[in-house]
């Protein structure tokens, strides 16, 4: 398998798939997912209702010193996080002020306001460089199931699976294209596509940030907020690297089933199944160790390791991703090398 052959094939794969609609639709979805965070932060920053809905800011601590409730004093999470003193506090006797503040501290200690960010944090969410870092993070992990990686897995299974569906695999291989070379070219192209998608997400996030800081005319604080640009680079490469075993899993599932549909179902199904099984395994002390090293969990850990986290954690995450990638790619290659190639199978 010559490197030049892999590069040439990857180039021609690009020639072919750029004319396909599906990758562009998936990219559009990925961009949409990644931009949600920016605009939610923007709205929350400018609108108290959104802020309270998003961050649980409506939760409040309230104390009343008479039966009618007229002298009640209320403090919301938004007041707490933004260090706003509720009006009327200074008019209360000292003893009641102390009682109220102690109550607020205890209420806050319960974690009632943990989800609520300060205005400064909302602002960082839609200004560069943190908006870019957050977009990439949102792409790789949004909610309980990582939607971005699922899109990448669908793309990987489709890129290989359509060759079976249309019978073009036979046409490609009959001309002397090596099977390993073809698989390597597809893997390379998928990695490059993911990298380009992340670049697109970063650029669009920057454009969104620009728009978000320009739209309200009274905002004069500018596009850039304090943040580390190096974090953008680190999260970029970390996400791209983390996607490798997921791509390999999809390719393996597709060559195993010789079907685009089954490849998607099997690989995405695994991610969902592991997402459900992992918390259950965590209930058992012995199995918890196993759960920590499963594929999706390894991906989550790798992308969640703080940029400034301990080196040992980073190394462990890196090696776990590498091990999964090597094993899954080797398995896919082994299966692909041995399978008979038939005509168009449809899907």
């Amino acid at each position: 398998m010559a490197r030049a052959d892999v590069l040439r094939l990857a180039r021609w794969e690009w020639f072919k798939i750029r004319r396909l609609r599906m990758p562009w639709v998936l990219l559009g979805l990925a961009v949409l997912i990644s931009q949600l965070g920016i605009w939610v932060n923007y709205l929350a920053y400018h609108n108290d209702t959104v802020k309270e809905v998003v961050g649980g800011g409506t939760a409040s601590y309230s104390v009343s010193w008479d039966q009618s409730g007229e002298s009640a004093l209320t403090m919301t999470c938004a007041d707490v996080v933004n260090d706003r003193i509720p009006s009327g506090l200074d008019q209360l006797p000292r003893e009641q002020q102390r009682e109220f503040l102690e109550g607020v501290a205890a209420w806050r200690a319960d974690g009632s306001c943990d989800n609520l960010q300060s205005l400064a944090e909302y602002r960082k969410g839609f200004t560069v460089p943190d908006s870019i870092t957050a977009s990439i993070s949102d792409f790789s992990s949004l909610g309980p199931v990582a939607l971005g990686p699922l899109l990448v897995m669908v793309l990987a299974a489709s890129l290989v699976g359509t060759e079976y569906a249309w019978g073009t695999l036979r046409t490609v291989l009959s001309g002397g294209t090596g099977r390993r070379t073809l698989l390597a070219a597809k893997l390379l192209l998928l990695v490059l596509l993911c990298a380009h998608a992340l670049v697109a997400i970063s650029l669009i996030s920057a454009a969104s940030s620009l728009a978000a800081t320009v739209i309200p005319p009274d905002e004069a604080r500018g596009l850039v907020d304090p943040g580390r640009w190096s974090d953008v680079v680190i999260i970029f490469f970390r996400t791209a690297y983390g996607l490798l075993p997921l791509i390999a899993l999809s390719i393996l599932a597709t060559v195993l089933t010789c079907s685009r549909g089954l490849g998607i179902a099997l690989s995405v199904g695994y991610v969902i199944a592991e997402s459900i099984a992992s918390p259950l395994l965590q209930l058992n002390d012995t199995l918890a160790g196993v759960a920590d090293h499963l594929l999706v969990e390894s991906f989550r850990s790798w992308t969640a390791v703080p940029v400034t986290g301990p080196f040992a954690d980073t190394l462990q995450g890196f090696l776990a991703i590498l091990a999964y990638t090597v094993v899954l790619v080797a398995a896919a290659s082994w299966v692909f090398q041995r399978r008979d190639i038939g005509g168009a199978l449809g899907d």
């Binding site: 040439r8 094939l9 180039r11 021609w12 020639f15 072919k16 004319r19 396909l20 609609r21 249309w166 019978g167 073009t168 036979r170 046409t171 490609v172 291989l173 009959s174 001309g175 002397g176 294209t177 090596g178 041995r338 008979d340 190639i341 005509g343 168009a344």
Partner: protein, 372 residues
């Protein structure tokens, strides 16, 4: 003798190895033919035809350059077998395809033609047996770069145009230059539709694109599996012409088909398969000769059998299904009629049957239902 000298001059165009082995046999054949056909004007006509055939054949061998006896065969298989579960798709197939020939793989559906081609192209793993392409069993991928193939059904990317499909495959195979594509589209009759999406093509047009694909980079060997499937008569004629032209240029064509007429018209040699096994193999002319039967109805079938049995150039004669079946050289219907007429038996109907190969094919494959 003057005639012998003419034969030798014409045979000089054949490769030396061929002449060493076959020259005397061919001259003897010509002599025998003239002896049977007698003299006079008719004899002169037969002789002229014989010399013309010999000259055409010699010219073709000369043009072919590499000749049928030169070097090792392009494709050789030895006990090639493919078993899917309990189904034996190909059973111990041993064959040899000479360079520069149009070689037909003939057999009914499911006889193992496509599986055989799949194994030769590295798409299907043989269960046992070996094969070699261009005399080498190593480096299959390298050998495949010298082969153009279209298997079973032309499969291309439906969202790309015909031109884009060819460009893509040209790119991944590194075959030829982009400017060749126009010529290829022209050659297969798709010049006007080259910029339309493959998904909009009819089956015949897809086959044409498949041919253009197989011709990318001017390969030495072509594997064509049912190339005329879905084509209109003009398209079929184009394919026949193309195959003959390719062979005349020294290319080797391995053509799988269940259409007997197609194989008969395009191929020099043929291998007949049935249920995965080789039934017979040889040159088309030999097989046609073996299957040369003329079915006639006469005013007296019994007497006709007696007369023809006594005729030297009739190989075999019998009554079958109320007809006299005569095994004799091709084109001898007039002679048979004349021989019978001299004895007062008249031919009232003849049926050479379309395609002697077809009858032979049905006999050897046991597919009397005509499933082929």
């Amino acid at each position: 003798m003057f005639a012998d000298r003419v034969y030798r001059v014409l045979l000089a165009a054949y490769p030396r190895e061929f002449r060493r082995e076959y020259e005397d046999l061919m001259i003897q054949f010509c002599r025998d033919r003239m002896r049977y056909d007698g003299g006079g004007i008719r004899g002169l006509l037969v002789w002229t035809q014989l010399v013309a055939d010999l000259a055409t054949s010699a010219l073709r061998e000369h043009e072919r350059g590499s000749g049928m006896t030169k070097g090792r065969p392009v494709i050789e298989t030895e006990s090639l077998t493919k078993i899917y579960g309990n189904i034996v798709a190909v059973d111990g197939l041993s064959m040899s395809v000479p360079r520069g020939h149009a070689f037909g793989l003939l057999g009914p559906n499911g006889s193992g033609k496509t599986t055989t081609m799949g194994m030769l192209l590295g798409l299907v793993r043989p269960t046992s047996g070996t094969f070699s392409l261009f005399g080498s069993s190593d480096g299959l991928e390298e050998s495949l770069r010298r082969i153009g193939a279209i298997i079973e059904y032309p499969s291309f990317y439906p969202y790309l145009t015909g031109r884009e499909n060819l460009r893509y495959f040209q790119g991944i195979f590194e075959r030829g230059a982009p400017q060749d594509i126009d010529g290829l589209l022209e050659k297969v009759g798709l010049a006007d539709r080259g910029d339309d999406r493959f998904s909009t093509y009819s089956l015949g047009m897809k086959q044409r694109l498949g041919l253009a694909f197989a011709l990318l980079g001017d390969p030495e060997v072509l594997f064509l599996d049912e190339p005329t499937n879905g084509m209109d008569p003009a398209g079929m004629a184009d394919v026949r012409y193309l195959v003959r032209e390719l062979c005349a240029d020294g290319r080797t064509v391995l053509l799988a088909s269940h259409i007997l007429n197609e194989v008969e018209q395009m191929c020099d040699s043929v291998l007949i398969m049935s249920n995965g096994t080789l039934v017979t193999q040889g040159s088309v002319s030999d097989i046609l000769r073996a299957g040369d039967h003329l079915r006639i109805s006469t005013t007296d079938d019994r007497k006709a059998v007696e007369i023809l049995s006594a005729t030297a150039w009739v190989e075999d004669v019998e009554i079958e299904d109320g007809e006299v079946v005569v095994s004799a050289p091709r084109g001898s219907a007039a002679e048979i009629s004349t021989a019978l007429g001299r004895s007062g038996v008249y031919v009232i109907g003849t049926n050479s049957g379309r395609g002697a190969l077809e009858r032979y094919f049905l006999e050897v494959t046991g597919d009397e239902e005509g499933g082929a």
